[in-house]
């Protein structure tokens, strides 16, 4: 009973070399920009790298979360696309290479790393058992190790199944997913507090972990949807995947766009209403100078535009519109992270020039290259998965 009798004829196709060339070009151009950036203004470049690092981490860890959810809920529509999420999640291997240059410049990023400033500040002194450099490094290492461990478990089981279609691998991954969920919640929250919230070490918000999670999952879904549709349209996946599968992706994107808006509004509303000075200054920073327009823009970029794009039912099945919405949402998360991180660097005006553009180009380059390299190693469809047949035949 546990053996999979379904035979799926799959011929592995490799992405064209020009994809890699494009990615490599972007990567090198971006890298040159960043190196010059470090020479010209290392603080600003470090801030940009934090945005990039947390964006890529979002895509990677959000994809792992997506895989876990698929296993736990027994979803079938996403099975033919699961490899896309697995390949996306491989981006977390890049994180150390971004974290090291950031750590070298940590003093220009995080106010709480200045021990002499902490000594004169009662609140920072109170926080120093948590916010100190050595514990910060330990947390980074632990979190990354945990993420790598789960990445390895998920992917290993899934890939082994390709050659040996045994349902036990699915069962193993279901167990792994169940254990992963609470650990994911805790590590992601600590990650968000450490890298993003502690940029303003006096500020605090209990919902912040959930806020970062909402953006994380949206970014991962955006990357997943975009890559899946692109691959499917160009015939890298299987026959028969279409509207009904796209509808599921569109519905998820739409649902989590609303979820993000809900969490963002809750956080803003409560702080605005209670009007306590120890909390409001974070929003006031984002409402002064040109930041005000950027903040209003966030509402449009991250909520209203994708909401309108995805609201009509036919739009969720239309691959063209879905691709636009997915890529939009992916970069809306970048916008969101910029909104969280950059006001600490520049209080009154919007820092926007070649520093920022180079970082973004570098990031896209990394994503494309990583996708190419990791997609080469595996089948693009989990051919041994017991749910694959149902997934291919999925109808609404």
């Amino acid at each position: 009973m546990s053996e999979n009798t379904f035979e799926f004829k799959y011929e592995k196709k490799v992405l064209p070399q020009k994809v890699f060339n494009l990615g490599l070009t972007l990567l090198i151009v971006g890298l040159i920009g960043i190196i010059i950036g470090f020479i010209v203004n290392s603080a600003r470049t470090s801030f940009n790298l934090v945005i990039l690092m947390s964006w890529l981490a979002s895509i990677g860890i959000g994809s792992l979360f997506f895989i876990g959810i698929e296993y736990l809920t027994g979803a079938v529509w996403s099975v033919p696309f699961r490899r896309v999420a697995e390949i996306n999640s491989a981006i977390i291997w890049v994180l150390p290479f971004l974290i090291i240059p950031i750590l070298l410049n940590i003093h220009s990023l995080y106010h709480w790393t200045h021990t002499e400033a902490v000594q004169t500040d009662a609140i920072l002194k109170h926080k120093s058992p948590y916010l100190n450099e050595s514990f910060f490094y330990i947390r980074i290492i632990i979190i990354l190790v945990i993420w790598y461990l789960f990445y390895f478990l998920f992917n290993n089981n899934s890939r082994q199944q390709d050659n040996n279609p045994n349902q036990n691998f699915t069962r193993k991954n279901i167990t792994v997913s169940a254990i992963f969920m609470p650990i994911f919640a805790i590590t992601l929250t600590i990650f968000a507090i450490d890298w993003l919230m502690s940029l303003e070490p006096h500020w605090y918000s209990t919902i912040f972990g959930v806020y970062y999670f909402a953006g994380t999952f949206l970014a991962a879904l955006g990357a997943f949807t975009f890559a899946s549709i692109l691959l499917n349209e160009n015939g890298f996946l299987a026959e028969g995947l279409g509207q009904d599968h796209y509808y599921s992706m569109g519905a998820l994107l739409f649902a989590f766009t609303n979820f993000w808006a809900y969490i963002a509004f809750s956080q803003f509303m409560l702080i605005w209403y209670a009007n306590l000075p120890e909390e409001t200054f974070w929003y006031i920073m984002r409402g002064t100078g040109s930041w005000l327009y950027f903040s209003i823009g966030l509402i449009f970029v991250k909520f209203i535009v994708p909401y309108i794009l995805l609201l009509p039912q036919p739009a969720k099945m239309d691959p063209k519109r879905l691709k636009i919405a997915a890529i939009w949402i992916l970069f809306a998360h970048y916008y969101d992270l910029y909104w969280i991180i950059m006001p600490t660097y520049s209080k009154n005006s919007l820092p926007l020039s070649w520093f920022e553009i180079a970082t973004l180009i570098f990031g896209i380059g990394i994503l494309v290259c990583s996708f190419y390299i990791f997609s080469k190693r595996t089948n693009l469809i989990p051919i041994g998965d017991p749910k694959l047949k149902r997934g291919l035949e999925f109808h609404l």
């Binding site: 509004f265 509303m269 605005w272 209403y273 009007n275 609201l311 009509p312 039912q313 109808h395």
Partner: protein, 379 residues
Amino acid sequence: MESRKLYAIGALFNDPNKLVKLAKKIVEQGYKNWDVHSSFPIHGLPKIMRLKWSPLGYVALILGLTGTTFGLFLTWWTMSVDYPLIIGGKPWFSFPAFVPVLFELTVLLASVGTAIVMLFIIFKFPNNRHPLHDTDYLKKVSSDNCGLIIEAKDKKFNYDEIKSLFSQFEPDSIIDIYYQEEETSYKPKVFDWKFIVFLIVVAILTSAIGYLFNNVILYLPPFDFMMNQHKLNPQEASTFFNDGFGMRKPVPGTVARGEAFYPFKGKPDEAGTKLINPLLPSKENLELGKSKYNTFCSPCHGWRGEGDSRLNGQFPNPPSLHSEKVRNWSDGRIYHVIVEGQNIMPSYSKQLTEKERWAIVLYIRALQRSLNAKQEDVQ
């Protein structure tokens, strides 16, 4: 049995696959008035039946936006126009605080409205007189089968042809569905006497309940606890005080806060020479004087101070304020009368503050001037 007419021919199936095949065939043959019945929705059938995309999504969108707009108008108008209140230091129109209400109104109108549109406008419900009701066909659909009918009013309707078409698809049974003309075409009359009696009874009952609640029940305990508290209201008698008055006078020899001791008690002439009106005849002061005069003075002195009392002789009429004597009085002299009273007129020092008294004096001057205008006033 003559009134029975053929409504449609129905075919009942146990296997939905057969039904879908038949439905495809019927579409091919170009029948218009046909329908499929099943006690649960059959997937993929709307496409086969070539039904139009349901407009309910757009209905919901429009109704939802109406709800949002209405909510926005309601919150804006009540909170920043009609009854502006500053709460928690927030501006009158504090949008984030209105979002919950806007959201709820959107959802309320959209969901309830869409349901109403579907049931009562698109489906034209309630409709218990449709020919299909109470037929074996519908009963079987309700329990075990799914069925398909072609109505007799279809242009291509041909009894034998359809029968043979149906039997090609091996249905479990084929049923002729009849209906009675007078039953389905029955329309309820508005001016039926039963209905009118019913309306009257409802009207009487609601007004009786309304009257009972508003005029009787709300004056019974515990609803009247707020009205009957252990305290004295103005003008009420009291058994506690010897003089029986609920309202008390100030303790003798005390001066209220903000008031000065009045040094000219019993010295009207001295008051007339020494007191000077501190107020200027500004519009504001005259308005104040007018309102206070109309409240406290005009019942006896008349609206224009002509001594035309509105008390219908219950008290002797006072003299006119336009006499030579009063016109020649100084402001202080009039002020003294207000403070101390004169003849039958009592003191008004308890009712009026100093400023209000002087404002009344100003107003009396204005009245005097208006009735005895000089030439230069006209210019």
